[in-house]
Amino acid sequence: MRSIVKLWFLLIVGLGLLASACTDDEPAPPIVVEPDPDPDPEPEPNEPAVEPTISNLLINQVDEVIIPTYFDYQEKVVSFTAIVDDFVSAPTESSLNAVREAYLQAYRSYQAAAVHNYYATSNVDLVNTTNLYPIDVTLLDELISSESYNFNTTAQRRANGYPALDYLLYGDQDVLAAFANDPKRTAFLQALVGALQTKADDLVQRWTGTLRDNFVNNGGVALGSSVSVQLNRSLVYYEEHIRGNKVGLPIGRLGPNDTPIARDASKIESYYKSLQDNSDETALELVRVAVEEMEDIYLGSTSEAGDGIGYEDLLLAADQESLDTDIKAQYQQIYDQIAGRTLITGDENLYNSIQALITLYKSDLFPVLNVQDADGANDGD
């Protein structure tokens, strides 16, 4: 037995020597994100004195980032509903303008709400029932005249939500006359806005209910943890909707390679308003709001409250300042691209800057935080 022990000992020593012979000059130590509270917090001067742990991150995310976003959305939609009611009772140029303004406010707020496309938000299918574009005008006209609509059905997805409102509020030469001439159109407008409000109320109720605690208690970074769900699902939203639908599809950058390559401005978000404005400024602003919400998740901040615990703080706790700098610089580059243009189409720089953030997340942020990509569910080795 003693000889075996000796053999093992020799082997372990030998292994160490062997491996050190093929040493990598590796300056940075590997990073382990600790799911449990870290014993030695070092509060920075301007940072709140909260330790950058997963559980503090989750509390901050749900209480300061997610729930306020839905409260804001609910508030904007409630006010939108009231203003629509005013318009219906007294349709004038000024009440129509008030509706348009309230519409834009709600649409902007929606952009932030949709980024959190996980848990309750994906369960109520917010994105698919609220913002699929381009719309099917024929279908929309049919629905209006038939007076039978159910805003939760799949069949009606292409005549629903903000894209349908975009058409109703900006799609005609004389929108006021279009409403005045067709009471069914007015009824549709009211019903649609009512459906948006029902959904917004539902979301607030769900997020502030048991989900809030479940979100906080689902710790760690494994697949299915709140961190993994939030990062993966918001990034999927970013890829599909912000990169893809908002920018990639209109500029003809993304898609199957064997269909004709063409730019298609009709695929732009808020298309009818853009036609009227002869500029994509609204669509660009919607992109900006959506990207800002992504950044809020990263920083752990909302525009109103200060900076709480976000993924940035986990990176800093893991000595990854350079990655943090790169990610923030990438967000800034996107904002600069948006600020410097009036059309979504044109060059591909906006698309490329949006894309570069995905690369940073997937190839750097995720591995450093030990968050696994949610793809694939089969055996691996």
């Binding site: 590997p30 449990d36 760690g220 390679n257 690369t359 080795d381």
Partner: protein, 456 residues
Amino acid sequence: MVPIFILAMRERSIQLRNWLFGRVSIAPLVVFRIVFGALLLYSTYRTYSQGWIHELYIDPTFHFAFFPWVRPLPGDGMYYVFGLLGVSSLGIMLGFGYRICAVLFFLLFTYVELIDKTYYLNHYYLVSILSFWMIWVPAHRWFSMDLLLFPSIRSTTCARWQIWIFRCQLSIVYFFAGLAKVNYDWLYRAQPMATWLPGKHQLPVLGSFMHLKLVAYLFSWAGCVYDLTIWIFLLWKKTRVLAYIGVLVFHIMTGILFPRIGMFPYIMITSTLIFFSSDFHERLLSLIGGGLKDDQVTSAELKSVSHGSRWPTWLLIGYMVVQLFLPLRYLMYPGHLFWNERGYRLSWRVMLMEKNGYTSFIVRDPVRDVRREVDQSIYLTPFQEQQLRSQPDMMIQFGRYIGDRFVAQHGYSPEVYVKSRISLNARRSQVFTDENYDIYNNSHPFRDGWIQAYKR
């Protein structure tokens, strides 16, 4: 001098041949046949019940075939293939139509494995190898249903090599799996264990230690030492029982920690039984009514020395040389193995890397001068996309496929570029491919340095 040397060689080779073809108890083979057959049956059922036949072989429109001519069968064909796999593994287990079933299982299983690189797993490769050797051993000559039909094939012995081929193969698996772990990341950074283990914090008892760096180091070092040496302790009679307890603990533990390794722990737990002595297996068989009586095994048959002919010995030696060569073939390629993955498969490298990153394919239409990023989800399943992301040979396959589709649509060649950043074992990411290198119109991307050098 020379004649003596040759004589000595010949003497040695005769000794080796006599040893290889000496007769030993058939019991270990019979037990192996039963447990391995049962495992194959369960594994086939598992693939079916998880819905993987459809998901992996029918749903995808594109496959990363190992050879272009290996394709899944159309329609419900793959269900029949798996049905036959189930039937043949049952046949192996019961020893019913054993040889036919072994041939059928080996061919069909290997065919299925060659359909798509996405699903490549070292333990599937091992199943292919083990089932190949099942063809050549008479595991059905005792305690099998074939004996009811052909009583004359009954035998209590087999050639020694027919048991040792499995022992050697399993030893090779362990040894090279261990050798692959002797690297800087594994031993000195505890990567990728330090990435994976903290995610296991919800496990009972163990979970609360998983975030400790020390645990990651412990697992890494223990795993390495285990793989490098366990086969020695299994071969050595004195330590065998203890070593097998080690096998149980190690594989059950990894099975709990990493459920995604699937059947691997069970394959190793059952197949390493073959390291046990004939006595052990004979007792095991007598428990289930297939005991060999002492006098039967020590019969004249056992003592009869059968002189194997020369060429099977050389084939066996040749096979072993190939098995030793394959895991080391990466040395022929330049660059960092974990980075370019040339010579990575068929080498018993398991759980060594965590690669993350982002890879996009850009198709440029040279006539209209437009560039377009391929929406990979149109052609690939999420699992395929995930595997494609960091494996260069799959990137080339996919790039060519996309290019071919473009040609079919437009009648002229596009340019296809791969833009990729990859992070290896929780480091910052690096540029992986030369994004200005057209992989569609150049035929030797590797030779041309398309994969960017790994910077430490």
